[in-house]
């Protein structure tokens, strides 16, 4: 029996095939490579049967906690996923295909991507979309680079309300590039208009904002974006897609580029990935968009079909002059999200957003009523808000974990002076009872 569990040739096949190419053994196939390049020392375990492997992984997986009630969000949310999302994306025709290099043999993937692009423009209020990027953080970086290509400038202003997880990534990525990257401290829970007005001049090429911001606060960014435009800068807004079921779109605020993470659109939390970076923009900037774009066209008989288009932007054509280095993206995750959006539909999607707001509204009233707890900012929020506790938030979270509750995310991890601040998130999955328990337990440890 073959020792390669998934290879398909029998020993007889192999003998005959080796003979047909003038070889006797497998070693002969590598004889042209100097022997000193080859190694016999691989300190790896013996291969397992499927059954043994599953037993082993199950045992490891059980070391994870699986019955925690989760109020931790910070940009990554525990939303309900309809069963049909898994069922459809598990079809081998989708997940065992690759990049649609032969469009006639990939109309399924291509049309789904065209539908995805359409959905993302409608969510964000923009005109064009790419077919996905890796995650919300790399999408924001790509959005920033795109803004600098358009403006032909090299200065970036980033609101500190933008996720600190993304800002740490931006700092890494800009380090080797000739980009002047500057973070603008927040005002009271929202972007500081005066600070932006002061720092915006005709050298700033990109202004990066987020709505709702890391603290969950909602903002109408129209005036900040207008400020950016008046200085000739491009405005990039990072958005939380579920909020767009109800919240004013970046498009309505006149943003030029919208990015974000599509994890909330039907993707499990999965300990950090795979997620889904999205990027939408005004149509006039389409030639500066990074990554794949699907377009509609026709065949010789006039039948509608879809192809990868405007490829002159991409690395396989432009090499070092490409708009981005991205090749493989997050196609299957994008497929999940368009199926998710279709299953919920126009009404259902708005309902999910309202449910999130409703749960958060109840929690807001319950939690801020606890003695010693007060809101960090008294501002409109979507499904997440920050509370100032009378003691260290990290300690509180630690205490509640042993009670089976992930109470939130301690903002002090990223913001100095916020050691007592707890960020709590609420999705449609959280019940009144769970929130009541959170309130009671929180009260008991303060």
């Amino acid at each position: 029996m073959s020792v390669s569990p998934f290879a398909c040739t029998s020993p007889d096949d192999e003998k005959a095939m080796l003979a047909s190419i003038g070889a006797k053994t497998f070693d002969d196939l590598f004889a042209h490579i100097p022997a000193e390049f080859q190694s016999d020392e691989f300190n790896l375990p013996e291969g397992l049967s499927e059954m043994e492997m599953m037993q082993q992984i199950r045992a490891i997986a059980r070391k994870n906690s699986s019955d925690l009630t989760n109020f931790c969000g910070a940009g990554f949310y525990d939303h309900f996923i309809p069963a049909a999302v898994n069922s459809l994306t598990s079809r081998g025709e989708f997940f065992t295909a690759y990049t649609p290099y032969q469009p006639e043999a990939a109309q399924g993937t291509l049309q789904a991507m065209f539908e995805y692009q359409t959905a993302m423009t409608r969510l964000t209020g923009m005109e064009v979309s790419n077919a996905s990027l890796y995650d919300g953080g790399t999408a924001l970086f790509e959005g920033m680079m795109m803004a600098l290509r358009i403006s032909k400038r090299n200065r970036v202003l980033v609101d500190e309300g933008v996720s600190p997880i993304y800002r740490t990534m931006l700092r890494s990525y800009t380090r080797n590039l000739k980009i002047e990257y500057r973070e603008v401290p927040m005002g009271e829970g929202i972007a500081d208009r005066a600070a932006f007005a002061k720092q915006l001049d005709n050298t700033v090429g990109a202004v990066l904002l987020q709505n709702p911001n890391f603290f969950g606060c909602l903002d109408d960014l129209t005036d900040v974006i207008a400020l950016a435009h008046s200085a000739g800068a491009i405005a990039v807004v990072s958005a939380y897609p579920i909020s767009l079921g109800i919240v004013k779109t970046p498009g309505e605020m006149d943003a030029d580029i919208v990015t974000g993470d599509g994890q909330s659109l039907g993707l499990p939390l999965s300990f950090g990935g795979p997620y889904l970076g999205f990027l939408t923009a005004k149509k006039k900037y389409v030639r500066n968009i990074p990554g794949r774009i699907v377009g509609a066209t026709t065949d010789g008989q006039g039948r509608r079909g879809y192809v990868l288009t405007l490829q002159a932007r991409e690395q396989h054509i432009r090499r070092e002059k490409a708009a981005s280095n991205i090749c493989t993206n997050m196609q299957l995750c994008a497929l999940r999200s368009v199926i998710y959006l279709s299953l919920l539909g126009k009404q259902g999607f708005a309902d999910v957003a309202r449910q999130c707001m409703d749960r958060a509204g109840y929690a807001w009233a319950r939690l801020k009523a606890i003695k010693g707890v007060e809101p960090l900012y008294d501002r409109p929020f979507f499904n997440e808000f920050a509370l100032k506790l009378p003691k260290d938030a990290g300690e509180v979270v630690s205490d509640l974990i042993s009670e089976g509750i992930a109470a939130g995310f301690p903002a002090g991890r990223y913001y100095t002076g916020m050691e007592n601040v707890l960020l709590c998130a609420f999705t449609e999955k959280r019940t009144k009872k769970e929130i009541d328990i959170l309130a009671a337990k929180l009260e008991s440890v303060l």
Binding site: S4, F6, M17, H32, I33, F37, S39, L44, G47, S49, M54, I60, S65, L68, L88, R91, G92, F95, T99, Y101, Q102, E104, A106, Q107, T109, A112, F114, T118, A119, G137, I165, N176, I246, V247, L269, F271, G272, P274, R292, V307, E314, Q315, I317, R318, E320, N325, T328, Q331, L332, C333, L341, S342, G345, G361, W364, P380, I401, S402, A406, F409
Partner: protein
Amino acid sequence: MKLIYEISSKGRGGVRIPEDRISERDIISKNLLRAAPAELPEVSESEVVRHYTKLSRRNYSVDTHFYPLGSCTMKHNPRACEAAASLPELCETHPLWPQLRHGGLLTQGSLQILYSLERMLSEITGLAEFTLQPMAGSHGELTAVMMMAAYHRDRGNKKTHIIIPDSAHGTNPASAALGGYGVVTIPSDASGDMDIDKFKAALNDETAGVMLTLPSTLGVFNPKVKEIIKAVHAVDGLMYYDGANFNAIMGRIKPGDLGFDLCHLNLHKSFSTPHGGGGPGTGPVGVCEKLRPYLPISRVAKTKDGTYTLDYDFPKSIGYIAPFYGNFAILVRAYAYLLMLGRDGLRATSDRAVLNANYVQEKLRPYFAAVTKGRCMHECVFSGKTLGEGVHTLDLAKALLDRGYHAPTIYFPLNVPEAIMIEPTETETRETLDAFCKDMIEIFELSKTDPDAVHAAPVTTPVGRLDEVAAAKNMELVYI
């Protein structure tokens, strides 16, 4: 076929969401709300299921077709790996939990998988340590270039460019540029390897490193690799191993042993995680001892008491390149695959991938111009210039679609005219390879006797050849 938006009907709904309200919340002021709901489709669940099921059937895939797309390693995706990645304890874990105090205890299973997979990849490649964070191959390349830059900055080296052979994937130069370096391209010699003299002429003290795909995109193992590495190290440059073609040498050759300083692996190629119609991929990067300090944070560590934890305190690190720990659910699949392969299975896998490619190469050699006279590795590259007059590689590709095969990679590598790049992988039977070669030869003959028939292909696919020029000109990129 209609779009999901075209079957939408006002008032129809799919999955129901609870309607109960638990708060009296006077929502928020109008200026913070969108003017009208997003125009998503209004369709029932059954319509969604039928629509996407029908769409799926308009795809060729490994599950349904032989898919010899060169350089992409379209091997079978074992379903046990899917089952492992679908375990609820692994899917439902929030990535921020281990960053909460004592939260690491909630995710010991996930951290153990990351730690174990890192160790296995180090052993397989002969490199000291891995980061699993890069979310695709080109993301791995960029991560590696960023580490090169950090190393040179730390050493006070003034480095301006990275050397890349012309046969490399376009992602190599694009990643080098995004990492802040200029690119020096070296042409290939007659045997398809980077021209050694031109390479040596380009190499100087300002060379940050060299990105090399091995075996090359021509499916050939460069015998001068050690000479190249020695020369690069002499100018304190770094050698980068592009693992796109790692399926050729698993269990036989360790890039670290050859002297490579960094490497990325495409887990969606060699390690059998699904390609997903174009992702998610995953591109872990391994580094040699001297580059350890520059790895991205966070890093997974094992403590003395046997528990797993995340470390952040690496002042020379390039910082964060991903929000968390990489495409975790994909990493689980690769881990499951490696557990099943084991030590012997690893080598046996590459052996059979190389056998299948050589088998196809020799069967087709009398008809198409093979780029190598000798053995190929896991893929074989031909030129289609021996096809009948006026018949091109593109036509051959379309004719293959009609015969039930996905086409090979075509017109890449760029240094082979009319290139046809065939990578059969180890998960195909001899019968499939025989049938494919027979069809290739028949199309070859047809190109001489009836070129119009080849030009007309494909006729069995859901659509015929599509007008790509019109697509770029009309820019119809969303449904309006």
